[in-house]
Symmetry: C2
């Protein structure tokens, strides 16, 4: 057997170690509790057709819309809710944008003071039904490519921390008829490179770089 | 002060607690060490043009290709490498598939014994340059939609644990000219729903459900 003094010292050392480990475990548990896990959601389309009026009307009151569409959740309403959670900024990088509901959501955010910026494809934005003209008229800055290839991205970044991306073009055809996917992601490993890609494209598509052809040059 | 017996028992209890916490911390550290962090990669296109021959030639030996393209990494070669890491299975759910390099990679995996299954869009697979006919002739099972909407997904699942998805159609136009993104993801929260979506579509597009129109019915 060890002498009593050594036993006491060993006991104290063990008690100190136990206390330190317990404190560390408590701190780790608190860190996990304080930081909610990152959003990791997948939406699949075609979306069920439901009424999205309650989400989009600025002074939304339940039961205000009299349309016969069913109420309840669908892929489109979940996408709208994620977008409408924006408080400070919204970056949009969209090949095609003609969905009236998504257009209304973006204008609503703009009116609420969210800083919205849009990058789009030049060929597509000129098509009938495009929302781009409406957004521009509402005062939202839009930039577009002048390239032969397509600006084929379809992503949004909410408050610089939530990435919404996938195969879905923001058109009614895609939402209602196509097989499509959308990922909603808060992991930094994805959000940061997409934010950098947006800023890169935003600078490249600066109107001071646009080239114009006048009739005289023809 | 406590009596000696109580002190001894308290010391032993603390020692047991310390040992238990230390063992738990060690086990958690070992678990973290054993499981590499999930792959979280983002690729942006257009891809730089480089020689991908060394990746695709079955008996690849460095320096065998005499083409003048630069060597080195690019978005396409990184995508190819992820695909070629498949050992057991590859699910493809692709709107458009005409890239010869990606077609060769899929055929290479099929020859190596990887179970490849392809779902695609009926309108697009009939276009000139589509790889779908070549894959079918090589013995790879392909199913397609008979819907009015597009099967617009563009994703692959490697060995049921790595998801490759984004805006990129598997065409040379998209790879070389478009602004595109591809996410490479091992997080279960994303991989599982995409796998379920693939199986759902695979069953829905079972050829026993196809409808055919004969001339007599016209």
């Amino acid at each position: 057997m060890w002498p009593a003094g050594a036993r006491r010292r060993a006991g104290l050392a063990l008690a100190a170690l136990a206390a330190a480990l317990a404190l560390e475990a408590l701190a780790a548990w608190r860190r996990r509790r304080r930081r909610p896990p990152p959003v990791r959601e997948v939406l699949f389309f075609p979306s069920r057709l439901t009424c999205t009026e309650a989400l989009l009307a600025e002074a939304a009151a339940p039961g205000t819309c009299l349309c016969p569409l069913p109420r309840g959740d669908c892929a489109l309403s979940r996408l709208l809710r994620r977008l409408l959670s924006a408080r400070r900024s919204l970056e949009l990088c969209l090949f095609a944008f003609s969905s009236p509901q998504l257009g209304r959501a973006v204008q609503l955010l703009h009116r609420r003071g969210v800083r919205v910026r849009v990058v789009t494809d030049a060929q597509y934005m000129a098509l009938n039904g495009s929302q781009i003209g409406l957004l521009r008229r509402a005062g939202i800055p839009v930039r577009h490519d002048q390239e032969t290839g397509f600006m084929h991205h379809k992503f949004a970044i909410v408050d610089k921390k939530m990435l919404i991306t996938g195969s879905l073009n923001w058109t009614t055809q895609a939402i209602q008829n196509n097989r499509e996917n959308v990922l909603i992601v808060e992991d930094e490993e994805y959000v940061k490179p997409f934010l950098a890609e947006f800023e890169r494209i935003w600078e490249e598509y600066n109107p001071i770089n646009y080239t114009f052809f006048s009739k005289e040059n023809k």
